[in-house]
């Protein structure tokens, strides 16, 4: 049985270590990261807007053009992932690469590629949405709840 004194001393040591660790870990360069995320995220959206303009110039309405635009962006993200080109962009730009839909495609394709070696059913099939899954689950839950509330409220 460990004496309560020894336990407390251990906890104290752990807390001390925690404080030391947080004081040593470098602070992320907040401004630099935010600017890079802004520029890269903005560029990706600009490409998306360009693709959308191509579709609308062919006579689609704004609403109709959304779906093919998103599909094109997903294709771009998927191909870049296949070429192992999206990972360095993500390293460089952080949220700037993760938040656009190309990042969603990247997580799905990268997981599919990585888990292929664990088999096609239990590897690729089961783990394709290992990162994108929570986004889908909570997106659908919150979306349906919001729609329910608005629908009840407005009739």
């Amino acid at each position: 049985m460990v004496s309560p004194g020894a336990k407390k001393q251990k906890a104290d040591e752990r807390a001390k270590y925690q404080r030391l660790a947080t004081s040593i870990v470098p602070k992320p360069p907040l401004v630099r990261n935010a600017i890079v995320a802004f520029v890269v995220g903005g560029l990706i959206c600009m490409v998306g807007q360009g693709v959308m303009n191509v579709f609308t110039s062919r006579g689609m309405s704004q609403d109709e053009a959304v779906a093919p635009t998103l599909a094109t962006m997903i294709l771009i993200g998927a191909v870049l992932t296949g070429l192992s080109a999206y990972h360095p962009i993500g390293e460089f730009a952080g949220a700037g690469a993760a938040i656009p839909i190309t990042g969603f495609a990247n997580t799905v394709v990268a997981a599919a590629m990585d888990f292929k070696r664990e088999g096609y059913i239990l590897g690729m099939g089961a783990k394709m949405f290992i990162i994108a899954g929570p986004v889908l689950v909570y997106g659908i839950l919150s979306g349906v709840l919001v729609a329910l509330i608005r629908w009840l409220y407005r009739g």
Binding site: A34, F38, M113, L145
Partner: protein, 108 residues
């Protein structure tokens, strides 16, 4: 606009202890709530792809599809409409993901 959303996400990542998947979930939920308040529609009108391509646009599209079908079909529409606009994103991601995973192997 899209850049601003990404910068906000990055600041959130750097200043809090959220991991990237947590941050993405927060954004998709925020998109759905802003959609319900009628704010996200205005962002889309203003910024187009800049508001639709970030993951918050995904939440917005789910809420919008769900509401649209609910107004048309009633309760059933809440569920049939959820993936009205986003089913395409999920399907293409699965399709291209499989094709590319079959064709390419990750670089070590």
């Amino acid at each position: 606009m899209g850049g601003a959303i990404c910068a906000l996400g990055q600041v959130l990542l750097d200043t809090s202890k959220l991991s990237p998947p947590h941050m993405l979930v927060a954004f998709v939920v925020a998109g759905a709530i802003l959609s319900g308040l009628g704010i996200y529609d205005k962002l889309v009108d203003f910024a187009g792809a800049g508001a639709l391509i970030p993951v918050s646009g995904f939440g917005h599209s789910i809420a919008r599809g769900s509401l649209m079908e609910a107004q048309r079909l009633g309760v059933v529409g809440l569920f049939t409409g959820a993936l009205e606009f986003t089913g395409l994103g999920v399907t293409t991601a699965v399709f291209f993901g499989t094709v590319i995973a079959l064709a390419a192997t990750p670089k070590p």
